[in-house]
């Protein structure tokens, strides 16, 4: 039998956060160091809203991060480093 679906094809607001897309594609992730001066630029340059400010510090939500590296590239203080997810033996396509 057909699935029980809403009458109008609709999706629940914000529901994609439960199963974020693309985090399994991530090859590298950012680490924010102490030299961060809280300019907050990265919070507006991140395409995925993975960097948030909480209590005068930056908090990275890895479950939303795709590892694009924009934050590290844009940081004027060089406070963000991209660390590879996997640094072991690489195969043919490495």
């Amino acid at each position: 039998m057909a699935k029980n679906l809403p009458v109008v094809p609709t999706a629940k607001a914000g529901s994609l956060m439960e199963t974020p897309t693309g985090i399994t594609w991530r090859l590298q992730y950012p680490v924010i160091s102490e030299t961060c001066n809280m300019c907050l630029d990265c919070t507006l340059f991140c395409p995925d809203g993975a960097i948030d400010r909480k209590n005068r510090k930056l908090v990275l939500n890895l479950s939303l991060c795709k590892g694009c590296g924009i934050c590290a590239n844009e940081c004027k203080e060089n406070a963000i480093q991209m660390i590879p997810e996997y640094s072991g033996v690489r195969g043919v396509f490495g």
């Binding site: 057909a2 679906l5 009458v7 109008v8 094809p9 609709t10 607001a13």
Partner: protein
Amino acid sequence: MSTILLTGSDAAAYGAKLARIEVIAYYPITPAFPAMERISKFIDDGELNTRFVRVECDHSALAAALGASLAGSRTFTVTNSQGLLYMTEVVYHTAGLRQPVVMAVANRALSAPHSRFPEQGDAISQGASGWIQLFCENNQEVLDNMLQAFKIAETVRLPVMVNYEGYIQSHTLEEVEIPNQEKIDQFLPLNRVRTLDVENPQGVNTVASPEFYMDYKFNQNQAMEQAKTVIKSVATDYGKEFGRDWSGLIEAYQMEDAEHVFVAMGSMISDARIVVDELRKQGQKVGLIKVRAWRPFPAEALREALKKVQLITVCDKNIVHGLGGALGTELKAALYGQAVRINSYILGLGGRNVSTEEIKKVLELSEKTAKQTTASEWFGL
């Protein structure tokens, strides 16, 4: 209630007015535009509290109506032929989004060659779209069907096309009784469903994967099936209040002991009634089936009404190229297995006249035709 002379265009406009539509968008096209202008006059005269979106094309007309519907307003538009084809993309989209938009179509032939004359072809082209389609036989029915259409649409959550022929109906004056507004308000109360609502946000029409699309389509088609019952019940309710029900899916006329039955849709029906009465006086056992709802296709109702008949003459003012007349081929499919002679005729394309004379001649020709050689034969060339 008052009875005045109205064209079919005006009747559609009065229907929209009585339904208290909140938003209208339209783009002028012949012969649908008088209905649009009449509604604009109602608005300009302060008789209708409706926002008019003066769009730049037919495609945007249905798009704007759809947007308004999603935001919870009762909407309406009017078009025909080329405009209807131009907005076909939005037609299918509106049905898939299950929005109760009502559209009046002043049926006209399709280009090419370029014709401005009446024919059912434009409505037929939208047969697969998921819209409910009603065909009107006269201007009174245009008004009544408009109101029933809103009720049907808002009950099953599917859009409805109200078809009447260009010029023959859209531009011809007939007596029309205009129902009382308060009674219409009771029949058709405000039924607001907001899909786009800042108080209740949701995403509409996200990309659907194969895992989901077919189920949505099944559910949509179930609503179409449900419409068969709803069209009948809305007709009954309307009939109780306003004295005219227009019979629901089909109407059986002089069918009690009919042996030869004429089946058709639209303006041909009013002429066919005259012919049937005349032939009955001459002792012929002729009957008439008016197909009022073409979508959903009333297969069960037709099988029931035609089960004892020996000869059926079905007439189409349309051509589905490579197949035959739409009603003719669909009727044959519905009656498959029944031992009955069905002669399907295509006539009146591009506005070629179909009057009582032509109907009489078709019936005579059909009597003499034991078996047609093609799916539909062309009459009147």
